[in-house]
């Protein structure tokens, strides 16, 4: 089971990329400071808005700051918001979705109503506005806001799944043995939802990274922190696009897209592993089958 998980190409790609960025976020300062010897905030006045060179591998900004160093530092900011917001969102989604699904009845009615409400609210504009009110907030606050407003979709999925799990025979059986509700949720239902929760977490993380980038682009961000979004915003405010300073605004966007792709791939892979219908439609399976079919046909011709 584990080996098939790790040998799935999409999963592998996803894990490698996500792992890489998590590593960057964790070891970034060490990497830039000790290994590469670059400082994201240092200004090299001799290289202003300079294209990539041997000295600055990804070029410099209008302020003579090293783009690579900023990119690595930005990984930390973006991943921080992503992970924190996803944590908050996932916890809320579990609280709302699983509780509603498990207990049903009035609890479900109320919680589900709240979920649906958050679901149909345009969350991104809402986040913009709330953060707009709290002008000049830190990354913590931004992550909290994103997390607090971004859980509804996950809660809905979890509720539906819980509903289906709650009346599964194994839950009834354990209940019949005398298990308490908290243990039923914790030991029987939640582990069963592990895959859903993990994929929810990943999508929430991507959502949060994208939302943070959007907020930073609107100028709502922590001026003390570097994130990919704030890099793009800084580039934009210095007319980097018009001036063709692509090395400044392309890499952070690519990083966001890359980690988003990786997370989506991970989810995809998990889907494919858990859903045999999807699994049988992957390129590998189809190719393998075609190859055998061709071989058989060739045999038939020669025979």
């Amino acid at each position: 089971m584990k080996t098939t998980f790790l040998s799935h190409p999409k999963v592998r790609f996803g894990l490698v990329v996500v792992g890489f960025f998590v590593g960057l976020a964790v070891f970034g300062p060490w990497l830039t400071g000790t290994v590469l010897g670059i400082d994201p905030r240092a200004n090299d006045i001799s290289a202003i808005a300079a294209p990539p060179s041997s000295e600055h591998w990804l070029g410099t900004t209008q302020f003579g700051q090293d783009v690579l160093a900023q990119l690595i530092a930005g990984a930390r900011g973006s991943m921080f918001v992503g992970v924190l917001a996803a944590l908050i969102g996932t916890v809320l989604a579990i609280v709302f979705g699983v509780t509603a699904g498990f207990f049903g009845g009035r609890t479900d009615h109320i919680l589900n109503f709240v979920t649906n409400l958050f679901m149909v609210m345009p969350v991104l504009p809402l986040i913009f506005i709330v953060s707009g009110y709290l002008q000049g907030t830190g990354l913590w606050m931004i992550a909290i806001i994103i997390g607090v407003f971004g859980w509804a979709g996950g809660a809905r999925t979890l509720r539906a799944q819980t509903l289906s799990v709650r009346n599964r025979d194994f839950v009834l059986a354990m209940r019949m043995l005398g298990e308490s509700n908290p243990r039923l949720i914790g030991a029987e239902v939640l582990p069963h939802l592990g895959g859903w929760i993990a994929s929810m977490f990943l999508s929430a993380m991507i959502g949060a990274i994208l939302a943070e980038a959007g907020l930073a682009f609107l100028g709502i961000s922590d001026s003390g922190a570097i994130s990919w979004g704030s890099m793009i915003q800084a580039a934009q405010s210095q007319s980097a696009v018009l001036r063709g300073l692509w090395w400044w605004f392309v890499p952070p966007g690519l990083c966001i897209a890359l980690i988003g792709t990786a997370a989506a791939m991970l989810n995809f892979g998990v889907d494919e592993l858990s859903n045999p219908k999807l699994r049988s439609a992957t390129r590998r399976v189809v190719r393998r089958t075609r190859r055998v079919e061709r071989a058989v046909a060739a045999d038939a011709r020669t025979a």
Binding site: R168, D169, F170, V171, L172, A173, M174, M176, L177, G178, E179, A187, E188, P191, H192, G194
Partner: protein, 361 residues
Amino acid sequence: MSSPTSTATDEGTVLSAVDVSKHFVVRNAVGDSSVVRAVEHASIDLYAGRIVAVVGESGSGKTTLARLLARFYEPTEGEIRLEDVPVGKGAAGRGYHQTVQLIFQDPFGSLNPVHRVWHNLDRALRIHDRRTGRAERRRRAIGLLERVSLTPGADFLDKFPHELSGGQRQRVVIARALAVAPKVLLGDEPISMLDVSIRLEMLNLLGRLSRDEGLAMLYITHDIASARYVCDDVVVMYAGQMIEGGPKERVIGAPAHPYTKLLVESSPDPDRVGTTSRDEQFADAETLGEPPSLIEPPTGCRFHPRCPFAMSRCALQEPPRTDLGDGHWSRCWLHEEGRADEIGAESYSAALARRTTEPAL
């Protein structure tokens, strides 16, 4: 109508349902609610060391009955008695389930795929006796597995459900139910999801548990032949009601209700091969009809719209319970009208054919 009679009066019942009904409220998209009368005025007694089978068509309320007995549902009417003591409303706690355990139809579904066999048994042992140590629990778990013929038990403790075959899974489920040392085992079609070849082993196991260990057992099934194989008594349900009951050979061998006869004659019986031609066997089986809606059940006897023997009174009044001796009873107007002989006189389809040519009503 609700005379709680028991077939064997010498022993006390372990678990009984006395005149229970269960109505469900279902809502459609419009928000209209309607009442599904899933079980109506059913009574059943379970005795130590005996197996009672409940047979009936799909939707006749068998599962509902089992769940009422397991106290998953609160009866709409009537009461459940445990060792002759009425069980109070909403009090189905640990105590109750230490006595009564339910085995589900799908062995895969009733084992959480994320937990090992050990977890399942361990939880059951721990919940009901918090003092025993881990080593002791482990010893007991192995004992339980060996009781259900999973030998050597230790080999199975660390397996995940998906590493077990269907039969092994169902044994684990039974072992888990036995872990709390219950007196009653309720089996809701415990073998229907298993492969044909291993069903018998399961039935033999259930028979052994009842016979040798004195468990009272309810065995719910579609398959009359298997009911006959394992049980002592048979109860037939139709559209939420119990229409016939008694010792298995009497009920299956000489049905006293037209529906029981239909059920027995519809069941596959390879012994028939060769005795009549195939076309004859299946002749007129096309018009056997479908079970009625439980939302607006037919008036009077619920079987009357399909019954080849139906009389005008069948549509008006519910038939009373007629005791036929030896604990065999039936609910059919034919007994009251003295036409009971007609039931056994010819095959069901023949009766049906006759009726279509010369309407009885």
